[in-house]
């Protein structure tokens, strides 16, 4: 098909599909009139049952925690996939270190950028840690925390300290951390099974006060593992791609 044919077929078909979709919208309760019963049912019981004041986290890590298991493993699988796809390039570096070097013109990182990035790296790591460990109280959780945590490490790279970055995150170590994060989640769920409770059931003490950092039992534990897994996966992905870029930089120097 030529580009023009494709565009026309798509415009006709897309219009038809859009018409079909809009035709169906009449059956939806209007915006702002969510009919329930799922949400209200959870809102009614969540705080009392879990001692987590952030109901979204309670849903994410307990009521629909099983979804989150799948979600974590999607990320885990994707990170493994990135390693698989890019791994051969890594092997290639040993064979031909100078490939595609000449055409690059990467200016050296300015000292201002270095300063800013280094200054922000520390807070980013602290904030990430805080987010990952406060899922039960605030709008936060392992996922957001993990990404922020990882971006702290990425800032270290921005500061031009790639060698530091590489020392911090050798691929093997990251594989281990990733496995521990993803496996820790599954193992937390399985622990319940060995205590003859249902998979993912809360087997820790809920804590006396809803909303306290040490409250909500396994929700906080799972959130922590998720943070670990997410941070490792993200650093791994960025690291694999960075190594690609590094291929170029090394060639230049």
């Amino acid at each position: 098909m030529t580009q023009a044919q494709r565009r026309w077929i798509f415009l006709v078909a897309g219009t038809g599909l859009a018409a079909f979709y809009l035709w169906g919208l009449s059956g939806l309760p209007g915006f702002g009139n969510y009919p329930g019963p799922y949400g209200p049912a959870i809102l009614q019981v969540a705080v009392a049952q879990t001692h987590a004041t952030g109901v979204v986290s309670a849903v994410n890590f307990l009521y629909r925690g099983f979804d989150t298991v799948g979600e974590e493993f999607i990320l885990f699988t994707a990170a493994s996939g990135v390693s698989v796809v890019l791994r051969h390039l890594r092997g290639e570096r040993d064979r031909s270190a100078v490939d595609e070097a000449a055409d690059r013109d990467v200016p050296p990182t300015s000292s201002a950028v270095r300063m800013v990035a280094l200054v922000f790296a520390g807070p980013a790591i602290v904030v990430g840690w805080w987010l990952a460990s406060h899922a039960q109280t605030n709008p936060s959780g392992g996922f957001q925390g993990g990404v922020v945590l990882a971006s702290g490490f990425v800032l270290v790279y921005l500061a031009g300290e790639f060698l530091v970055f590489e020392r911090f995150s050798p691929v093997d170590l990251l594989d281990v951390v990733e496995g521990v994060g993803a496996g820790g989640f599954a193992a937390t769920g399985l622990t319940a099974v060995f205590l003859s409770m249902p998979f993912l059931a809360n087997w820790l003490d809920l804590g006396q006060y809803p909303g306290a950092v040490s409250s909500s039992g396994t929700i906080a534990l799972i959130s922590f593992f998720v943070g670990l897994e997410v941070a490792a996966a993200f650093i791994l992905i960025v690291g694999e791609l960075l190594e690609q870029t590094l291929l170029i930089r090394q060639g230049e120097s």
Binding site: G32, G39, I42, L43, V59, E71, A78, N138, P210, A233
Partner: protein, 114 residues
């Protein structure tokens, strides 16, 4: 206002698909795929919204204040992670494709596969 958010959802979905269909650059195409997916966040949060209700946090509001649906928010969170994972994997494919073929145009890639 009753259906407007859902019309916006349809628009985002449609424009994203249009981008995928007409794209001549793989990275652009992958970004368009994330646009398609972003329509699902808007849809999910849109259907769970309750007019005049608060976010589902009982940290600093009295219990039993009307709150929007927490379930769709959990679903949207999962959805965001899926987006990040799939996009990262696809981008690594793109890097490899460029390495092997020297191009990121889907047409040229198709003609070179053999």
């Amino acid at each position: 206002m009753a259906v407007f958010p859902f019309v916006v959802v349809a628009w985002i979905l449609g424009i994203g698909l249009y981008g995928i269909v007409t794209s001549r650059h793989l990275v652009h195409q992958i970004v368009c795929l994330t646009v398609v997916q972003s329509s699902t966040y808007v849809l999910l949060l849109g259907v769970g919204y309750v007019t005049g209700a608060v976010a589902p946090y009982y940290y600093d509001v009295p219990d039993h204040t009307p709150a929007v649906d927490p379930v769709v928010q959990a679903l949207a969170l999962t959805d965001v992670v899926v987006e990040a994972a799939v996009t990262a994997l696809l981008l690594s494919f793109a890097v490899q494709a460029h390495k092997r073929f020297g191009t990121l145009d889907p047409h040229e890639l198709a003609s070179m596969k053999g």
